[in-house]
Structures are given as C-alpha cells and as structure tokens.
C-alpha cells in the first residue's frame, strides 16, 4: 500500500493505482477527456497533467502508477499552463456551435475551458471542416467536427460491448470517428457511447434537440426495465421525463446500462398514462376519480366470498406494495388465490453476459419472497380452470407498468375477461382494456418514479429508491388501492416539519452554485 502526497494531502492507495484515479477518489479536480474509469487507459488527450516532485517535466496522470512517497501536485502554474495550451490544441478544429450542440451545458470542453482555458486562440490556420450529422446507427448521430478524438467510444465498443463497430479513420487533423461500410453502430449498449462522449460529437437520436439540459432536473432511481436493476438517473422537468442515464454502482451495473432501459421514461409520461379511473357497468363506461373507483370496487369486494375472488400480480411493483396487497387479500378477503403473471416465460433466464436479462420485471425476486412469506402456492393453471368453470367470479389484476415487455398482454386480458367482475389496476392506457365488456374497474396506478420503495434484483440485492416526482397526482399505489378496496380510508400523511434551509439534504453549497449553476449536480466528467 504505497503512500503518496496529492496536493499536500497524504493519501494511501492500492498497489498499481494510477494517479488520476487516486486524485478523483480523493476529490481533487483534474482535467481529463480520454480517461474513463470503466475503460482502459489511452493517454491521448494530454490534459491530465501533473507535476511530480523530482521530475523535470509535467506528466500525464492517467498512465502513471503511484509509487511510494510520490509527491504529486496539479495546482501549480506550470500544470495550469500545460493544460491551457493542451486545450488550445483540442479546440483548433472544434467548431463554435455550442448554440446548436446538444451537449452544451454538460460539455467537458465548456467546463474545462472555463476552468483552465480562457486564452485567446493563437491558431491562424482555417478550421478543418468535417462531416456533420453522420448517421452512425439506429440510435446515435455523429458530428465529426466536434469530436476531439478522445477514443472513449472506440474503446467502449472494443472492451465493453465487444462489438468493435467504431474506429478512428484517416490521419492527422483529418482523422475522424466512423463505422465500416455496412456495419452500423447497432448494439444493445450503443447509447453508452453518447454518455461517455465528453463533447457533443455523439448524440442520442431519441433525446436530440428535445430539451436543453439545463432545463432538466435529475434524480436517482432504479431502472425497472429488467431484473438487473441498474442504478439510473432520470432527467425530467414539468413537461415530463426526457432521458435516462446510468449511475455508477459497482455491485450492479458498473458505469453502463442497456439501450432498452433508456426507454423506461416513455411509459411514465402523461400522454401514455391512464389519468382517471374508468368504470364499466351495464350502462357503459363512466369516468371517476381513482380513489372513488377503488371505494366503489370495495362495495363489490365486501360481498364477495373468499373462493370466488382472485388476485393476479405482475412483478412490476415494489416489495412494500406486494406485501400490502397480498396481506389484504389473505387477511381481509380470506383468499389464497393469488397468481403470478409471468411474461415471456421462455426467455426468463436469458442473460447476455453484460447487463440485459430475459426477465423483464424489476422485482420478480421480491414478489416471490412476499408470496412465500404468505404461503401462497397457487399456479396459473388453477386460475385458468377457475375462470373456465366460473368458480372465480371476481379478479383483481395489478397490471404491468411497462406494457412493452408483456407480449402476452392481449392474450391474458382475453383470458381474464372471462371473469364477471374485473378490477384492473394499471398505470398506462391500453385499447384492449377499453374494449372489455362486463363489469370493469380500470384504476390508474403510480409508476416507479412516483413512489418510494424497494426492488429486489436477480441476485437478491435489495435496492431502495425514493420518489422522483409526481406525474399523475390522482393515481394510487398498490398499497393505497389495497387499503381503499378493503374499505379503509387513506391516512393523510402529516405535514413534514419545515427544515431550515441549511439542513435540507439536497442543499447545494454556495460555492458550487457560484461556480456554475448548471453543472453542479452533474458530477465528474
């Protein structure tokens, strides 16, 4: 365990740690583009210069391992000059199109220029013009002019996705990122290249030009796209959710996430949601507030005897909600007919070796745990038989949030509609549900970004997450729905005592705010 001094601070690091890693871990600021903790060292940007005592010249921190007693500093004038003129070289051919560029506001060049640059350019030659708006594949757009050739994306396709689509072509100032003919950047992790691009060279087709990043707030949550349970940041504002990015978690997803998971914001937004409860009786559909519809359903449920009532659960809700609704059904309604709706059964155990799993539910383990706790062993076949014979008259369904991963949705709706009374709890709209006949209650549910809770991922890791924001204020959680359906009232949460400003957990230090209002929550590059 070598000891070293970084900017006057004694630090003990592991054998073989590079200087830049030690500095980032110690919370020191250091300029860098090409270095990324999840990728190999390239040493091409020459920005992470540090001064090592006893060494006459400044050195790059990313490719120098720490040895015993090293004295490192990157605050001296010599280092600052080196970074400044290194930046000048990066910006020789960089176009000044920040107004158009989607990265503006979270751009490494902007940050670094404001911190280390601020020079008058000394390049007299005209800028090298390259291709703009190059279509790399189904998800990513490239702007060669903006690229500073840090090679992060190339290393990503080489080392992480192992698809080798990207490469650097041509020489000198004409070199640019590109794909081979007939080999577009088309893999299940391609959008990570957009995340790691320190400039606006790679942009996501999905997010491109939809919002300026400084209009977005972000919050951490857990992806509900599959059983891996990647830690993600969702970006939203009052108009809705706009994008999802991964957050580093050593035990779950590292630095990456898949492209499928980036679509999870889509079923959260208002336009795809059920906003009011829809209740169908003999006289047709009528609209109702969600809470009222749940109370209305209670009128039916209280007269239903135990065996004619069944509950169908999808593994898309939190552990707390499962526990609440299952215990309500077991204790209040005296039924053990609780069924687990398994989507895509055949591909359930698939795993692509990186992150993607075939089980497209975030909380399968959690649901199984709750079912086990209440001693429920019912299988889907019992339900099919019960429905066919007419023994089950009333079915309560906690439908999927992410309908895209339920290919058997229509089939199951058809099967369940055999029941006399169908109480369907779901966040999203669906045509199939609106064309049902018989007595139907469609009650809007909250999605995973609108509630606190726990998901248990494929490895049994419990991940707690907090509410991000409210999209449909009227919608209920499963817990609330269970309470209302069993005839109880919701406890109105007591107002939280007002915290003084300096004790708020999300308080931003004034210094950081002064430095750059828009960048302070983005974290390191």
């Amino acid at each position: 365990m070598p000891k070293c001094t970084i900017n006057g601070k004694e630090v003990e690091v592991k054998e073989g740690t590079t200087i830049i890693k030690a500095m980032v871990d110690a919370g020191e600021r250091i300029a860098h583009y090409c270095w990324h903790d999840g990728l190999s060292v390239a040493g091409v940007c020459r920005l992470c210069m540090v001064e090592i005592e006893g060494n006459p010249r400044v050195q790059i921190a990313c490719n120098t391992t720490i040895t015993e007693g090293m004295k490192i500093n990157n605050t001296s004038e010599k280092v600052k000059e080196a970074v400044k003129w290194g930046l000048d070289f990066h910006l020789i051919n960089h176009p000044l199109d920040c107004p158009i560029c989607d990265q503006a506001g979270e751009c490494g060049l902007q940050d670094q220029y404001m911190e280390y640059g601020k020079y008058d350019p000394e390049m007299a030659e005209p800028k090298q013009k390259k291709k703009k708006v190059v279509d790399l594949g189904p998800t990513v757009v490239l702007d060669s002019e903006r690229c500073i050739l840090c090679s992060r994306c190339v290393r990503f396709t080489e080392e992480v996705s192992k698809t080798n689509e990207l490469g650097i072509f041509n020489r000198g100032d004409r070199s640019e990122i590109g794909t081979h003919d007939g080999m577009p950047l088309d893999n299940k992790y391609s959008l990570n290249t957009v995340d790691i691009c320190p400039v606006g060279a790679l942009t996501s087709k999905d997010f491109r030009f939809r919002q300026r990043v400084w209009y977005l707030k972000d919050a951490e949550t857990v992806c509900n796209g599959c059983a891996t349970g990647c830690n993600v940041k969702v970006y939203y504002n009052k108009e809705g959710f706009f994008r999802v990015k991964p957050v580093y978690n050593e035990n779950v997803n590292g630095y990456w996430m898949c492209d499928e998971g980036r679509d999870i914001y889509k079923f959260v937004n208002r336009e795809t949601r059920l906003l009011k409860a829809q209740v169908r009786s003999n006289s047709g559909w009528s609209e109702m507030p969600a809470g009222a519809a749940a109370k209305h359903a209670h009128e039916l449920l209280k007269t239903t005897s135990g065996d004619s009532l069944a509950l169908v659960l999808t593994a898309q809700y939190t552990v707390e909600e499962f526990d609440a609704i299952v215990s309500t059904f077991v204790n209040e309604f005296k039924t053990k007919k609780i069924y687990f709706w398994i989507n895509n059964k055949e591909t359930f155990d698939n795993f692509d070796g990186i992150l993607l799993r075939g089980d497209k539910n975030p909380n399968t383990k959690g649901l199984l745990k709750v079912l086990e706790k209440h001693g429920i062993t019912a299988t889907w076949n019992d339900l099919s038989q019960g429905l066919a014979s007419g023994a089950i008259k009333t079915v309560v369904v906690a439908g999927p949030e992410n309908q895209a991963v339920f290919p058997d949705f229509h089939e199951r709706v058809k099967e369940l509609s055999k029941a006399q009374n169908l109480i369907w709890l779901q966040a999203g709209k669906n045509e199939a549900l609106m064309s049902l006949t018989g007595n139907v209650w469609l009650i809007p549910m909250k999605t995973f970004v609108e509630k606190d809770g726990t998901f248990i991922n494929h490895a049994g890791l419990e991940q707690k997450f907090k509410k991000v924001t409210t999209v449909v204020s009227e919608a209920l959680t499963l817990t609330e729905a269970a309470l209302l359906m069993s005839g109880k009232n919701l406890a109105i949460p007591t107002a939280q005592p007002f915290l003084p400003l300096n004790q708020r957990p999300d308080q931003v230090e004034l210094e950081a705010r002064k430095k750059n209002e828009f960048v302070f929550r983005r974290g390191s590059l």
């Binding site: 000044l96 199109d97 920040c98 107004p99 158009i100 503006a104 030659e125 005209p126 800028k127 013009k129 291709k131 703009k132 708006v133 491109r208 030009f209 939809r210 300026r212 400084w214 209009y215």
Partner: protein
C-alpha cells in the same frame, strides 16, 4: 420621512404664492397660444414621438439571405428571459449545415418586460428588439406572437437580414 416646515412670518401670507402660481400658468397659456409650434405636448395619435434607434420595442426575428430564419433554437433567449415569455420548440433540419431550427417560436408579448436580455443573449443575432411599440389589440386579439408575426409581419417587408452569416464565417475559416 421628515417634514420640513417653514414657520417664518413670510410663509403665513399665502396670497403672493397663489398669484405667483397663477402667473406661471398664464405665461404658459399665452406662450402656447401664440407659439404653437414649440408646444411640449403631442397630439397623439396624429403626431408621434420619434424614439432613438436603440429603443426596445416589439421583437423581430432576423432572417438569412435566403429568407429562412436565422434562429438556431439554442434557447439562450428563453433561458435568459426574466419574464419567461419565450417558448421555442426545436427540430432537426434537413440541411446538415443548419442542423437545428425552431419549428415554433412564440413570445407572449403581454408577459414581456422589454428588457432586451434576449437580444443580448442571442449568439447569432437572430432576435432584436425593434422600434415598434404601439401594439393595440381589440378584444380577443392574439398577443402570443409566432414566427409568422415576429419575422415576416408586413411592416418588416420580407424580413430583417441578420449580421451573422454562417457561410461567410466558414469561408473565413472559423
């Protein structure tokens, strides 16, 4: 606030003050009656005041040489706007050298405070505050100005041309 009171003997005589005031009124009356050209007031709306060219009136979106909008939809004006009256929707342009352009640009003129911050924030001289300031409207008039009004209203005669030209910049090697 402090009140100053003149309690001298002279101040108790109010009649000289009243007559002095009346004198001033009569002076102005006679001056304006016999010398109407130098009168300070204007007969609005027949006569209008000429403001300086720097006057901040209604917004104008400038156009390029080919008549298309100069605006790149960078949203700096909307970000800078203290009244939050600018609403822009960006979209991808077919021409890669343009790349991004606004498909809708709306200014809620009733919220606007005419501070000129949008003009100052604009990196490409796409928005200016023009000399117009009389924008009356009858009941139900639309005070949310769209691109059609901001860039191509009849008084602009086909649009005001911008100073910043990308092609010229690129030729100069920037």
């Amino acid at each position: 606030m402090s009140v100053m009171q003149n309690n001298s003997e002279k101040a108790k005589w109010y009649l000289p003050g009243v007559l002095g005031g009346l004198g001033i009124t009569m002076k102005h009356l006679l001056k304006n009656l016999f010398n109407r050209k130098k009168m300070m007031t204007l007969n609005y709306p027949e006569e209008k005041y000429e403001y300086s060219p720097r006057f901040k009136g209604n917004h104008v979106l400038t156009v390029k040489k080919d008549g298309s909008l100069r605006c790149t939809a960078c949203m700096l004006c909307a970000t800078n706007c203290p009244a939050e009256c600018i609403k822009i929707t960006a979209a991808e342009h077919n021409d890669p050298s343009v790349e991004k352009y606004p498909i809708s640009y709306e200014i809620d003129i009733l919220r606007c405070v005419f501070c000129g911050f949008c003009e100052e924030a604009c990196p490409v001289d796409a928005i200016r505050l023009g000399p117009e300031w009389q924008t009356p409207g009858v009941n139900g008039a639309n005070f949310i100005y769209d691109i059609n009004h901001l860039a191509y209203r009849p008084t602009l005669r086909g649009g005001i041309q911008t100073h910043v030209d990308d092609e010229e910049r690129h030729k100069a090697g920037i």
